[in-house]
């Protein structure tokens, strides 16, 4: 079974799909709620200390904003250990979203740099695209499973 990084990392739908196909999703266990009462859209239920942005220096230089480095301290290690990735571009806020556009650019770049199986999809705009969207993810996960089984 593969460790799959999902983007947006907050998408419970993607996380669920990956789990149902027997793989391990690498994500943050944060649901985007209908009502937002936290600092950001995907604020974690844990207190990040000023040490996290310093750990994030491994993936982003000191002139990069602290919020980016703080996020990278969480997602950087996951990107390093992932064996596959699913990237959904321009996802709706309700599907799952990550608050900082600069972090999003960096995460997607780092994933695309890795020599691993990747599925790079646009978020569906209508029902027909929705069906194809789910089918594409299912196919990708199935192929990953076959590949793992033949190892």
């Amino acid at each position: 079974m593969a460790k799959i990084f999902i983007y947006p990392a907050t998408s419970l739908i993607l996380s669920d799909l990956v789990s149902r196909h027997g793989h391990t999703p690498l994500s943050s266990a944060v649901a985007i709620r209908e009502r937002i009462q936290t600092a950001g859209l995907e604020s974690l239920p844990l207190q990040i200390t000023p040490e996290e942005p310093k750990k994030g220096l491994k993936w982003a230089a000191v002139e990069v904003p602290a919020g980016v480095r703080g996020r990278m301290s969480l997602y950087g290690p996951q990107i390093e250990q992932c064996e596959a990735a699913i990237i959904i571009n321009d996802a709706d806020l309700a599907f799952g979203c990550m608050g900082c556009a600069r972090t999003n650019e960096l995460i997607k770049f780092l994933l695309r740099q890795k020599d691993i199986p990747k599925l790079d999809l646009n978020y569906p705009k209508n029902e027909e695209e929705g069906v194809q969207f789910v089918a594409a993810i299912k196919r990708f996960l199935g192929e990953l499973k076959k590949r793992e089984d033949t190892k």
Partner: protein, 412 residues
């Protein structure tokens, strides 16, 4: 117990930078309560589109929607704190536009701040205190005349000042460099009282401000202990006789600078910078020392020179001083070097702080540095306006404290 002042936080990156706890702590210390305006996902889409600023970060879209909810009255707050990551250009644009939007469309006091992971609650404390003061003490800040006999004390980072006022007139002043905080405070009080021909028994109310305000305020059993942002702006419009309508107050201090837009004597938007000493009064002190003149002589000296003749490639206090030394070694006149130093400080405040507030005339400069003519001249040139420097401008915090403290005199 007084209910806490509810401060709405509009931010991007504060939680992931690890500074949310610092923001909460600073608010809590001044009996403020940070909250995140509760809005729905559908509000974000609608309000973000309506605002018209095309940004990519979802948390900035959230901040925009929250600002709209505050202005529309869908969420109630007493004050607004806008905070985004330092060095993020997209966030800087949003921060600036939201501050302007809230200021123009509501009466909510706003402060904006760009943080790094090194931001501490101590750094934020004066800003938070000013926010809660404006929200809680609007009636006191509306006071326009001083009554009775009051003492105002400003315990600043570089100098300590005291003022004795009686029936709306300054009758005693005291000034000395800050060394040991309480010793300096008692020294200036003694001088001010002697000049006024009074003793402490005659004083009906006391107000303190400045970095040492809590220590000195406790020692003197002061009626009013208040941060310098609201006190100085009140003192500035009082002394400049501009208590009605808009004004901008600039105070270049020994350790940090304040830029405050005021409406009818009450601050609306303010910034407080203290990151680089090259933009502070300290740099001018060092320049005066290097030129072998007293700080009081730097102003007249700089007015005789042309700053443009001296190459200044850095705003840093160390490298800036090095540039001045190099210029002197290359034959530049002391007058030109003095003018260049004044221009450097004015330009840095202009570029880094005055962009964060909307300049409204009259522009009033206060604090000890306002007595340095070259600095006032340079600021006037940059802002293309005639700067107002009121009498007793170096005592601004003490005057503001004495004025506001009179609101605490009990009827005999």
């Amino acid at each position: 117990m007084t209910p806490p002042v509810r401060i709405a936080q509009l931010s991007c990156g504060a939680d992931y930078s690890g500074v949310q706890h610092e923001i909460d702590t600073a608010a809590h210390e001044v009996n403020g309560e940070i909250f995140f305006p509760d809005i729905a996902l559908k509000d974000i889409r609608r309000d973000y589109d309506a605002f018209g600023l095309d940004v990519k970060s979802p948390d900035l879209k959230l901040a925009i929607a929250r600002a709209k909810a505050l202005v529309d009255g869908r969420v109630e707050a007493d004050a607004v704190f806008i905070a985004t990551c330092f060095r993020c250009a997209e966030a800087a644009i949003v921060r600036n536009e939201l501050r302007r939007f809230i200021h123009e469309n509501s009466k909510l006091p706003v402060v904006s701040y760009s943080f790094t992971e090194r931001t501490t609650s101590g750094t934020l404390l004066t800003r938070m205190e000013a926010l809660t003061t404006i929200a809680r003490r609007r009636a006191l800040l509306a006071r326009e005349t001083q009554q009775g006999i009051t003492l105002g004390l400003d315990s600043g980072s570089a100098t300590t000042k005291a003022i004795v006022m009686k029936d709306n007139k300054i009758i005693g002043t005291g000034w000395q460099p800050t060394t040991e905080v309480l010793t300096s405070a008692h020294g200036v009080i003694e001088t001010a009282l002697a000049e006024a021909g009074m003793t402490m028994k005659d004083i009906q109310a006391i107000g303190t401000t400045g970095y040492g305000r809590f220590l000195v305020g406790k020692d003197l059993n002061a009626n009013l202990i208040q941060e310098e942002l609201t006190v100085n702006s009140k003192g500035a419009v009082y002394l400049a006789d501009r208590q009605h309508g808009p004004a901008t107050v600039i105070d270049i201090g020994g350790m940090d600078n304040k830029a405050i837009t005021v409406m009818d004597g009450i601050p609306g938007v303010f910034t407080m910078g203290g990151i680089c000493a090259g933009a502070s009064g300290r740099f001018l002190e060092m320049t005066a020392k290097r030129l072998g003149v007293d700080i009081t002589e730097l102003g007249p000296l700089s007015m005789k020179g042309f700053g443009g003749h001296v190459p200044m490639n850095s705003y840093c206090i160390v490298f800036g001083t090095q540039s001045l030394v190099n210029a002197l070694a290359a034959g530049s006149t002391r007058e030109d070097v003095a003018a260049a130093a004044c221009h450097s400080v004015a330009e840095q405040v202009f570029e880094q702080q005055l962009q964060e507030v909307d300049i409204k005339e009259p522009v009033i400069m206060v604090g000890g540095t306002s007595l340095i003519e070259g600095l006032v001249h340079a600021m006037g040139e940059l802002l293309q306006t005639k700067i107002v420097v009121p009498h007793h401008s170096q005592y601004i915090g003490a005057v503001g404290s004495a004025l506001l403290a009179s609101g605490f005199i009990k009827d005999e």
